[in-house]
Symmetry: C2
Subunit: 343 residues, 2 copies
DNA sequence: CGTTAGCACTCAACTCGAACGAGTGCTAAC
DNA sequence: GTTAGCACTCGTTCGAGTTGAGTGCTAACG
């Protein structure tokens, strides 16, 4: 239906328009490396393409933009080599391997709900030391060579990891391992589990177990818990709703800062009061990107010890009353729930 | 430091400015119900407040806006009655009670990653029937009157629920219950568990167990799995980054539609191809709000049966190649992982 | 005959100045 | 102490004029 050259030109126009979001002129197409015709020739083809319905003209003296039919053709004849950038591949792969702990999942969820309710950006800073220790360890063997390691923490959260059971390990041997681990590891903080197993208990295990080596490598995966201080944020683009940030330029530096975890962590920690709710207005935040922003923070705590920080970031023209009310309620609820967990 | 009246006026100005985002004039303050002075009086006070540094004037003939100092004063003297709207309370409460299944958490996470990588809006439609059945049931009693019910599904996912154990129930009775449930419920689809327990097995349980009634109410919470088709979306405000949606009016209808779950579900189902990747451009979407949008969908499947749909929504001027590449990769990975799960 | 240079034409975007009006500060009267 | 009145300021709006990117057409070229 379309000549080779028409396809080429249509393709170039769609490509250009996707990049620039502005009507594409004949001159700019002609200047591309892959098309070697003068603007006049291109213009003729463009007129034809428009007549065929693949292109549109916003107004007489403007360049062309693709019509829906044009996009359709472009998509249908897209070269099937969709190269995905390495960075993107990395992020997607990470998603599949990432293991969020129960506590982390809760925080991420809380961030989402908060940004959704307030229409501002929410930032949650995890507890520096989550005082969770092991309360119970269990291995549930499945019918094949795998099992599920289940760890109940002192807060009542349940972590589970799939592990592969080495061949030749008998059921009784498994049971022995579980009993041993339970007797020695209960009460040990989660983040110490791994080192504890490999240092203190390994000797004893070696004595009792026949397939010690294999068992250890299998367990290795189950206890791999890094427990560093993580930061969760949600609704970053909610900034764009605010009229004061109508032009991207102003928001750019804020969005950039939000990506920069270390600085953001610093700002949050600085802003947070030892207890209660703290409001940082404009320049009170020690970063120029937040000059037109206010950051409201609340801490949730247990027995007077602060466990984490919740922050809401918005324009200085923020609904302080509402946000403070919500944060108040949330931090109380968090504290209450933590108390329940720890009993 | 400030007179009663100055406080009142400052308060009114901040309130107004937070609402309108526009400089506040003396007239509009005077017309409010709570301030009964003429504009002239207000003007005098405003001039004083400006001199004191609480207000600013963008230019000579404009109204006043609060300075950072003004916000500070406003916040510090905020009436501590922060009423939170019932709807917000409801959503926050729901967050604390909500129990997402492992599969749902995975989907939500996938939606987040996708919208983050693509910078468009991602929509995930859950599987209509997730063919998961029970593979193993376990009760882990904690030292107090509670226990954790753990269900391993046929896909290897682990669901856990905290339940309260009725008084007077002995350890042996618990064990009996677990054994009974395991022998009768393995292989039963998760969404049928509850009815199965209450219809077919209840009789048998009644025969064997002393504290039947209490046990049943306790178990009730553990198996409450609704498993309806859920929809997850993330990055809705990413739309705002696109220059074609620079003014809110155009986006409004789209954002509204995204909130409207049933319609969105319909659009996604219509758009989805039985397999592979499908592109809906502009008006091809059967909804006028999507006139300037394109929806790219991919399905992930198992043994030829489609299990769910992934969608990316962006402007018609979308980076089709890139998004298709990413979706391709992701849907393949999803399919591969599902195969692993089901073995 | 396909391609290209040249040129007249179109029309959104920008510029400038005038008119408008929201809002102020000041003064005088209540 | 409060308020009405009024001159003044200055961003916003609107229309006319200008600019320039881009087109369509015609004629010349290889």
């Amino acid at each position: 239906m379309l000549t080779e050259r028409q396809q080429m030109i249509l393709n170039a126009i769609v490509d250009d328009y996707i990049r620039s979001a502005e009507p594409v002129g004949s001159r700019s197409i002609s200047k591309r490396g892959d098309v070697n015709y003068s603007p006049a020739t291109i213009r003729n083809e463009m007129a034809d393409l428009e007549e065929l319905g693949f292109l549109e003209q916003p107004h007489t003296s403007a360049g062309r933009i693709p019509s829906n039919k044009g996009y359709r053709y472009y998509v249908d004849h897209l070269t099937p080599v969709h190269s995905v950038k390495p960075a993107e591949v990395k992020e997607l792969k990470r998603f599949f391997t990432e293991q969020l702990s129960a506590a982390e999942q809760m925080m991420q969820h809380a961030a989402m709900v908060l940004s959704h309710v307030t229409n501002y950006t929410s930032i949650l800073l995890g507890p520096e030391v989550f005082h969770t220790s092991l309360r119970h360890f269990q291995l549930l063997p499945l019918e094949d060579q795998s099992a599920i390691a289940i760890m109940v923490t002192s807060t009542g959260q349940v972590e589970n990891r799939k592990i592969r059971i080495p061949d030749h390990v008998s059921a009784s041997e498994l049971e022995q391992t579980v009993n041993l681990l339970n007797s020695r590891l209960i009460g040990v903080p989660l983040y110490k589990l791994k080192t504890r197993i490999f240092s203190e208990i390994s000797e004893e295990m070696q004595r009792h177990l026949e397939h010690y080596e294999e068992m250890m490598t299998a367990l290795d995966g189950a206890f791999g818990q890094e427990q560093e201080q993580k930061i969760f944020l949600s609704g970053a683009t909610n900034m764009l709703i605010q009229p004061e940030f109508r032009d991207m330029d102003k928001v750019k530096s804020i969005l950039d800062l939000l990506e920069e975890t270390p600085t953001l962590t610093r700002l949050m920690t600085e802003a947070a009061a030892p207890q209660g709710i703290q409001v940082r207005i404009g320049a009170e935040n020690a970063h120029e990107a937040f000059e037109n922003c206010s950051l409201i923070t609340a801490t949730y705590e247990l027995d007077g010890e602060s466990l984490g920080t919740i922050g809401i970031l918005g324009p200085t023209r923020m609904e302080y009353g509402r946000v403070i009310g919500i944060l108040n309620m949330l931090s109380h609820d968090m504290t209450r729930i933590l108390k329940q967990w720890y009993r």
